[in-house]
């Protein structure tokens, strides 16, 4: 029987990582030069891993589908990055960051991984400052902090509302330095479409040159996937338009287990949907919840008048407003975790209290903060976010409250990895959002940047050596082997199949259909009935896709529609697996909310007896159901509890 061995090191929770490092196998400098590593993706995890591995002496081949590695979607992260520095002297510690992250993840993450994440968080801040990341500072010259959801301390470091951009540019610059030194071969506009396995080990990839359409082969001693999350399965999300699951999904079909695919995060503060031709959703940083207060009208009649445009938010006096988060969760108020805030917004809107033309929006109001701190202070903190809102919505948030609604934002699920970030395929590693590891069923704000950089700078460069030390006698090898030949043939076959359908409908037509099914049945609230329906509906869309898709242009040329079609083909399979995973998990936890399993107050009700495990799904062929294998989660350092933010 297949099992999932998490390979967690021995010792107490605070000793595991140092125990691992002191006993792991290393590769000496002369041998590092002889070893090639492919890193796919150039976001925080990919760029930091590529740079660090190259600095150590490995030869790195780096890939991204964008025109430049600097454009990966980590760049869009706004609010900040967590670390346990305790600079504000408010009682923070490694243990507390660890505890908050496990609790925030609704006790569905692996303790040992999360502790390591908290442990290296401080090194990340040091590293980034040394690289020249211009974090916000106090007048005395020290670093500034702010607070984020799910925490009662201020541990978030930030660079205006562009923290992701600045951290990514730091990693990109480190990577650029290694490109100049010849230690990284950079392949931009090169999209990975297949994984090559030789004798059971990941040995290379098949990629398509986006500009020429040429299919290329690349070999290496190990392959790292840092390819981000799969939020675009919902069509509308806060992800970049090109973000996709193809590298991870193709690896899954080659034997890599997919962990907890149903755990996706719905971010509470996004700009609401405006119409049918909308292409993506824009996030308003969670940091806004530090100063903004969320509310809807207390009376349904008032909500209706606002929807019709008869009155505005300003017409409603304090006593007619329902600050529902402050009411339901007095201890954390507007700073409850994202899953809790999102569900609470949906609950109010479903009950008929929503605002905006569609009724699917709630207010995020800065009036109190502006009165308390002054407009200038608010502008200094959130100026670029307010400007972004105004450009998109054509409304001035300094004067009228913002309108927001939840949207798909992040995938906690991803390729299953062990403690060493290795997937179930030897030699294939996954880092950052592409893996499932650290956030359990819900990620806390400012933890994605932390995890991406932890994996890339401080975890993977160590753990990968434990694997590569056994590869030092494997010489660099050619791609003229049968395995590469077959993988390439498989990929070309797939492209030809899609290209030759020559139907009537565009890729987006099918993608929007899939997105609607996912949002309706595999979104914020799920039921057994709905999930079964979703599985059937997705199959229908998939069948129609392979009958009626139209891709114009040439196959062996720059062809954005072909790129989109390849990605959608994989989303159409992933969507079904997400529904299956959500169906099998008969409990509510974090971002996964099954309506059948809730407390009297409408909070998520976990079932620790039966579901304290990671679900690792294995692909069993196109015509067979996937198999789920369970990795039990053992909580030794933290006691399992029902989450309480009241």
């Amino acid at each position: 029987m297949t099992t999932l061995d998490s390979r967690i090191p021995e010792g107490s929770i605070d000793k595991k990582w140092s125990n691992f490092k002191s006993s792991q196998k290393l590769v000496n400098p002369a041998n590092k030069r002889k070893l090639d590593i492919i890193v796919v993706g150039t976001g925080l995890a990919g760029a930091s891993a590529a740079a660090s591995l190259a600095e150590m002496g490995f030869k790195v081949k780096s890939f991204c589908y964008q025109d430049s590695p600097r454009r990966a979607h980590s760049i869009a992260a706004q609010g900040g990055i967590n670390a346990a520095k305790n600079y504000p002297n408010d009682g923070d510690s490694i243990y507390r960051l660890f505890f908050d992250t496990v609790k925030g993840g609704d006790y569905r993450s692996r303790e040992a991984n999360v502790y390591r994440l908290a442990e290296v968080s401080n090194n990340i801040i040091d590293q980034c400052v040394a690289q020249g990341v211009p974090f916000a500072r106090e007048y005395g010259g020290t670093l500034a902090n702010r607070s984020f959801g799910g925490a009662q301390v201020s541990r978030t470091f930030y660079a205006k509302g562009q923290t992701g951009q600045q951290l990514l540019l730091g990693a990109y610059q480190a990577q650029s330095r290694q490109i100049k030194l010849g230690n990284i071969e950079m392949n931009s506009r090169m999209e990975m479409l297949n994984l090559v396995i030789i004798d059971g080990k990941a040995r290379g990839i098949i990629a398509r040159d986006v500009i020429t359409g040429e299919i290329k082969r690349y070999s290496a001693h190990a392959v790292v996937l840092a390819t981000g999350g799969y939020g675009n399965v919902f069509f509308l999300s806060t992800m970049a338009m090109g973000a996709n699951v193809t590298a991870a999904w193709q690896s899954h079909k080659k034997g890599a287990a997919f962990g907890n695919p149903c755990y996706v995060q719905i971010h509470p503060t996004c700009i609401p949907v405006h119409g049918e031709f909308q292409s993506k959703l824009t996030l308003m940083s969670e940091s806004l919840r530090n100063d903004g207060r969320i509310w809807v009208p207390k009376e349904k009649e008032d909500a209706e008048k606002i929807r019709k445009g008869e009155i505005t938010a300003a017409d409603l006096p304090e006593e007619k407003r329902d600050y529902y988060l402050e009411r339901r969760y007095p201890a954390f108020g507007n700073l409850v975790p994202r899953d809790v805030a999102s569900r609470a917004a949906k609950e109010r809107c479903d009950a008929g209290y929503g605002v905006g033309p569609t009724g699917l929006a709630v207010f995020l109001d800065f009036e109190d903060a502006i009165n308390r701190l002054g407009k200038d202070a608010i502008e200094a903190k959130y100026g670029n976010l307010f400007q972004m809102y105004e450009k998109i919505v054509d409304d001035n948030p300094y004067e009228t409250p913002m309108m927001i609604y939840p949207a798909i934002h992040y995938a906690m699920g991803g390729l299953w990895v062990d403690y060493e970030l290795q997937t179930t395929i030897p030699g294939l590693f996954a880092a950052g959002e592409a893996n499932f590891s650290d956030h359990g069923a819900n990620r806390l704000g400012a933890s994605a940047l932390m995890q991406g950089l932890a994996d890339g700078y401080f975890v993977l460069p160590y753990t990968i050596q434990n694997y590569l030390s056994d590869e030092i006698n494997t010489p660099r090898f050619s791609t003229d082997t049968q395995e590469f030949e077959e993988a390439e043939k498989e990929t070309v076959g797939k492209l030809e199949k899609l290209f030759n359908i020559k139907g009537q409908k565009s890729v987006d037509t099918f993608h929007k259909k899939l997105g609607k099914i996912m949002w309706e049945y595999v979104g914020m609230a799920r039921t057994k009935e709905g999930l079964n329906k979703a599985i059937d509906l997705i199959k229908e869309v998939r069948e129609d896709f392979y009958k009626d898709l139209r891709i114009p242009g040439e196959m062996n040329d720059l062809n954005p529609e072909l790129q989109k079609a390849v990605r959608l083909a994989d989303f159409l399979e992933l969507g079904e697996l997400m529904a299956r995973d959500a169906l099998h998990r008969e409990e509510s936890c974090g971002g996964h909310f099954r309506e059948e399993y809730q407390t009297k107050e409408g909070e998520a009700l976990r079932n620790d007896t039966d579901f304290t495990y990671v679900a690792g799904w294995f692909f069993k062929g196109e015509d067979s159901d996937p198999e789920v294998v369970k990795e039990p989660l053992n909580f030794e350092a933290i006691e399992l509890k029902q989450r309480n933010y009241k």
Binding site: S48, S68, H73, I75, Q131, Q173, S506
Partner: protein
């Protein structure tokens, strides 16, 4: 809204391009500019024609992928935005919109509105960084940085590398882009160690890549979606002269 589009179509880098006219009906003023192009492309695909190719990714104004000349201005008729954040409410019903790629020797056209901006990556690879390896860093608060310097550094670092400054410049100069990186790093104590070598190398690289000279017209500043200031160019010049005078 009804719109008349004149879009530059060019099959590849070697073939000649030309403007093609398209008419679009029922465009919502709340759509973004790129969503308007999506509508056009959807129409073209259904008709069996090739859609208009353009770079885009995050669609929230931060990745720097999108960039096109819209009615004679990089990123179109609005301030402090990239094309993806431009909304159709900035145009009037029945308006003709002319859409072209960036035009600069260092940014050759790949297809339609898509250009090759690898030259920007090459500039950063030359010396746009602080040479520090992972794992060598002292405590983040060990070196205090004046808030004013950190803020100025951040303002310069906000550059998204879209290329609008080059496209706006009559000489296709990359001075604003380069000066933003030089300023970002030179304003911080960590970046001062290599400041001279950095300025020297980066200016030589910029020239070698075929970017033009700066004549201080300020067109770059006026069109920069992130509001990068001309004062950064003065700082670059100071850093460059320092590097030359110091030999």
């Amino acid at each position: 809204m009804e719109l008349y589009l004149k879009i530059w179509r060019q099959k590849n880098a070697t073939e000649k391009g030309r403007f093609i006219d398209y008419t679009l009906q029922d465009v919502s003023p709340d759509s973004s500019f790129l969503e308007m192009l999506d509508i056009l492309n959807e129409m073209l695909i259904v008709k069996g024609e090739e859609p208009v190719v353009f770079d885009h990714d995050c669609r929230e104004g931060i990745c720097g992928s999108c960039g096109m000349y819209i009615n004679g201005r990089p990123h179109g008729p609005d301030e402090l935005i990239s094309a993806c954040q431009l909304h159709m409410r900035k145009f009037s019903d029945g308006e003709t919109i002319v859409i072209e790629p960036w035009r600069a020797r260092a940014f050759p056209v790949i297809k339609d509105l898509m250009v090759d901006r690898t030259a920007f990556d090459e500039i950063i690879q030359e010396s746009g960084y602080i040479s520090v390896n992972t794992g060598n860093a002292p405590d983040a608060n060990a070196i205090p940085v004046k808030k004013e310097s950190a803020d100025l550094s951040m303002d310069a670092a906000a550059c998204i590398g879209c290329g609008a400054c080059v496209a706006a410049c009559k000489n296709a100069s990359a001075m604003l882009f380069v000066s933003a990186k030089i300023s970002h790093l030179a304003l911080l104590p960590q970046g001062k160690v290599e400041a001279k070598e950095r300025a020297n190398a980066i200016v030589a690289k910029m020239d070698a890549l075929g970017f033009g000279n700066c004549t201080n017209t300020g067109a770059c500043e006026a069109e920069c979606p992130k509001g990068i200031k001309l004062t950064n160019i003065s700082r670059l010049n100071r850093e460059y002269y320092k590097s030359i005078l110091a030999g």
